[in-house]
Symmetry: C2
Subunit: 190 residues, 2 copies
DNA sequence: GTCTATAACAGGATAGAC
DNA sequence: GTCTATCCTGTTATAGAC
């Protein structure tokens, strides 16, 4: 779907993503990004003339792309709702490393008004996930309104479980979210 | 309970808290804190010789104190579980300004290992809230294990609704959390 | 494309007058 | 207790050799 990225480019963005996830945008200094990427600062500027902002932009775009292909797409494809959700849960477990990794959408949100440069991408990402969850719930027999409610709650539980896992220093809340996800989306209609 | 704070001190910590909530620890520059507090940088250093770290420490301690007195205490006092939860929900709505304010526990979490200076306070705060929620659910007739599960889910939903509200730029997810809280904690046992 | 070195700047922290 | 002015460190960003 996206432009063909070299394997090294993927690896580079993945390493930078790890730094942004751990430290946030402001907290991610060029020194930290340089160390995390295994490249000197000047090398990073050669690859990202737009500086830290561009690095975060590309990191976010790559994460959204991966998420769309690996989580959203399976949710939309045919098959049993239960099976599709199980597949998505496995990918989510991978994406967040069992709850050890924070969510970029959380770490890049700047609450100081809606002026953050990432706000549009973040908002549309949340809406896409809610939409995909909602679709599955509807196909399982839930009314549109109820399906939407379940989808929103599932997204809240996902984000909240990541926050709580970080705060408690344990992956248990995230694992609990994953195992409860089918029931949260489908309920008795499973 | 805590040491007697002058009214100005409370107001000062409240303003600083707003800056930390919006920008996170790293993002909160001394310039931003100074502007938010309405004090010059040097004045802040007179009050907080320990610098930004001390400001964040005291802000977090004050928030935890307020939370304990206004949210946790009502949950523990006697009365109908439903009534106590409704009271806590009103205080939460106040505390987070209807979902417009982020949670300090989220904004001050540094995922880079558990070495963050706020980690112990954050962890014990989460555990205290889970404990208070769990107690109410148990008193309403739920078994200890089920009560704990409901409490953890409620905390996840709270944190997740705040993240989602911020991401979507709307207080709706947080309001949905608040109105669903009694049912989430008590369920059919209400 | 990646490195060493450095310039330009912002951020955290202090001194000292009032 | 608060201000103006300043220091010093760390950060962003760039130049130029290889």
């Amino acid at each position: 779907m996206a432009r063909p990225l070299s394997i090294d480019e993927d690896e580079l963005l993945s390493r930078l993503a790890s730094v942004f996830r751990d430290l946030g945008y402001e907290g991610a200094s060029l020194a930290a990004l340089s160390e995390g990427a295994g490249l000197q600062k000047a090398s990073l500027y050669h690859r990202f003339p737009g500086g830290k902002q561009q690095m975060a932009d590309e990191v976010l775009a790559a994460a959204i792309g991966w998420f769309g292909e690996n989580v959203l797409a399976p949710l939309k494809q045919g098959g049993e709702p239960k099976t599709r959700i199980a597949a998505a849960a496995r990918r989510l477990d991978d994406f967040y490393s069992g709850g050890r990794k924070a969510c970029l959408l959380n770490m890049l949100s700047s609450p100081r008004s809606a002026d953050g440069p990432f706000s549009p991408a973040i908002r549309s990402s949340f809406e896409a996930l809610i939409d995909a969850f909602s679709r599955v719930a509807r196909e399982a027999g839930h009314a549109p309104k109820a399906a939407r409610r379940r989808a929103e709650r599932a997204v809240m539980l996902m984000q909240g479980s990541l926050v709580l896992s970080r705060g408690l220093g344990s992956g248990e809340p995230f694992r609990a979210f994953l195992s409860a996800l089918p029931d949260d989306l489908l309920g008795e209609a499973a």
